[in-house]
Subunit: 415 residues, 2 copies
């Protein structure tokens, strides 16, 4: 099977024009049909997924990867529930961001429109297939999907369901395209399909993001990597700080908003660090500290590069800092601009930290674990961006839109 | 002379942190000092520019390029006047885009912040040096500039003035850096300096934009290329339409928002096209038309590819279309998504055109020539974007900012 990406891109672009004509009611009806069709074809989807899982097991994939790959009736019910949530969200398309009457009598508005065609590259998670398709369609976008090869049968079954729903609503199936050919060269081609694709969303690890940044001629939303910091200032309430540190590190250590490095003001390090160890060590946390911290509590020595690592595990870097400026300097040097927090009772330091740190999410007296679309009330999360253009942090439906300037005149000419 | 871009990038990043602390009053005072210093050092600037012009003449540069390169006392006065205008503009930095109290009592705001460090690549226009530096500083951004080699002496003199102003205000001169080494490899290096540069703005022709899109690992604002269309619908007021066509084509044919292709509804083509020729031909306009148009008026035959060209001159493509759908199809196939217009008295067609065309600027009954920062009331124009992420069409000061999520809690933890 050969895949002609130019053709696929052209068809996706045309399909995006068909989606332009849909109002919210029609788009939500389409999503409801996807829910219905997912239910109707559940057995087929689970069979396809079982084959993917079987082959992955035979190839010796790790337990964590197998778990991500697996679909169950419960997980499919969860996916349908998530689509219900998206149906309930307002449609951002069509809103005027602003509108004014110019001095010459022309009306000038910035109107929110779909981006057009999304390119989404992800790994062995079949749930992403439905997730991305639903968010794209809700915002009137077409999408070209490229999932991990381990999950190809599942993805084909899921996309077949979406195609049935599109057909029922008399919409072109090219609105959601799947690159089924496992040839890796197609990823590179997709990244350069700038005449047909408007935005690339990589959903995967650092390597995938780097590849997209380097090869794409299309704007890429990079993110997902969080080297997150929490600074305990001299004035912090230490017993409450301990709760926040525990939450940020332990509640879900494998995600990007989990704490990586704890920065402690030198004046409270002797009081705090033994408590941190007493609280976290029994939960399996390994502490890796700077020289100063090693004098205050027994822990492993932090090695070269440890402060530049996203742990994604029960390891916590510890550094004693002189003051808020020292903490800010460390964060500027080592952060991935995802999420950073200060714990303090000092109004001036809180203000200063908030003004000096420009990561996607900056916290005063809270756990970094809140950086998340649902926690921020976005209803759905497309991705978490740590770059600065277009969208930052958790991206909701709005991040799948852009705007055009709409100008209404009466045969106006420029003088 | 060798240029260490890593070092330059690092210094620019550090300088951007120093700019973060400035409020509007301080930034406007800095811009006023730039005005003053431009006046104080006018002779030096004009001398340096005269040398650039002399060398460019010796190398046989065209009259248009020499004109762009030339600085005069009047042009410098105009540049100072433009800085006054920027001083008068509101500072977008620090504004909260929105702010809400979450159910758990945390306050969540999206706060507007500078992008950080801009990379600007441009051609032999010394005025861009001041223009970009001033817009960057007004929004608290550092910038690394790379101007055309023909204008190096002028740029060095202008950047020296900016450095003096920065020094007077005790700010690091790395806030505005100039890559003075003419080695073209440095452009490629700048485009991959993603650890230190947040956005690339190319200000030049299609070739420069393509280079940036292909080579950059940093988000690029592409644009500036306008293949602009005007569709005269069956119901349009033809005598007023003629005024708009003339304005869009003739008023300033060398710019990106000038008209490239006139689409005429078949029902009015016989009435309109002879009038278009009678009006435009005496002004030096060459008409290049489709087969149908050739039967209605004497004009050159449009050749293969003519409808995909940005003319930037007194040439106008002409195409007779069946109806509004045919016009929309032509625009979707040939436009660069810059500016398109419909002239019509038909409410339904106006609505349909406006909903179907998603170019950066879409006009109903107006000339395409209005797509411009000052016409749209932005006060200053950074660039005109024809891509879809971050900013579209004329980009004002806001386009040099991004936002961060600011979260204030009371030792909140995630449940």
């Amino acid at each position: 099977m050969t895949t002609d990406l130019q053709l696929m891109g052209r068809d996706a672009r045309r399909a995006s024009f068909a989606l332009l004509g849909l109002g919210r009611a029609q788009k939500d009806a389409l999503l409801q049909t996807i829910i219905d069709q997912l239910q109707v074809h559940e057995a087929t989807i689970l069979e396809a997924n079982a084959e993917d899982v079987k082959e992955a097991e035979a190839q010796g994939l790790s337990g964590a990867m197998l778990d991500r790959l697996l679909l169950t009736p419960e997980r499919l019910a969860g996916i349908r529930e998530d689509i219900h949530t998206v149906i309930g969200l307002p449609d951002p398309v069509g809103e005027d961001l602003d509108s004014k009457l110019l001095a010459n009598g022309m009306r000038l508005s910035r109107r929110r429109i779909p981006l057009g065609v999304l390119g989404v590259i992800y790994e062995a998670r079949p749930n992403v297939t439905i997730d991305v398709a639903v968010l794209a369609l809700k915002t009137g976008n077409a999408a070209i999907l490229r999932g991990g090869k381990e999950t190809l049968r599942s993805n084909l079954a899921l996309v077949a369901v979406i195609h049935r729903a599109l057909k029922i609503h008399d919409l072109p199936k090219a609105a959601i395209g799947l690159i089924a050919d496992p040839d890796r060269a197609l990823v590179a081609q997709l990244l350069k399909l700038d005449s047909h694709v408007d935005m690339i969303i990589p959903r995967g690890g650092a390597g995938l993001h780097q590849l997209c940044k380097e090869q794409a001629t299309i704007p890429v939303i990079t993110g997902g990597i969080g080297i997150c910091h929490l600074f305990v200032d001299q004035s912090a309430d230490l017993s409450r700080a301990l709760e926040v540190i525990e939450n940020a590190k332990v509640q879900r250590p494998t995600v990007c908003n989990a704490l990586d490095t704890l920065l402690v003001h030198q004046a409270v390090a002797a009081a705090l660090l033994p408590k941190v160890k007493a609280r976290l060590a029994p939960q399996g946390v390994t502490l890796k500290g700077c020289q100063a911290s090693q004098k205050l509590v027994e822990l492993e020595a932090a090695e070269e590069g440890d402060f530049d690592r996203e742990w994604l595990s029960l390891t916590l870097g510890i550094k004693v800092v002189a003051d808020v400026d020292d903490a800010i300097d460390h964060i500027r040097d080592h952060s991935s601009e995802h999420s950073e927090s200060i714990l303090t009772q000092d109004m001036a330091n809180a203000r200063y930290f908030a003004a000096s740190i420009n990561s996607a999410a900056v916290y005063i007296n809270a756990s970094t674990r809140f950086t998340d679309g649902s926690q921020f009330g976005l209803g759905a999360e497309v991705a978490v961006s740590t770059q600065k253009l277009h969208a930052r942090g958790p991206m909701g439906l709005e991040a799948l839109t852009t705007y055009k300037w709409l100008v209404e005149g009466d045969y106006h000419i420029r003088g």
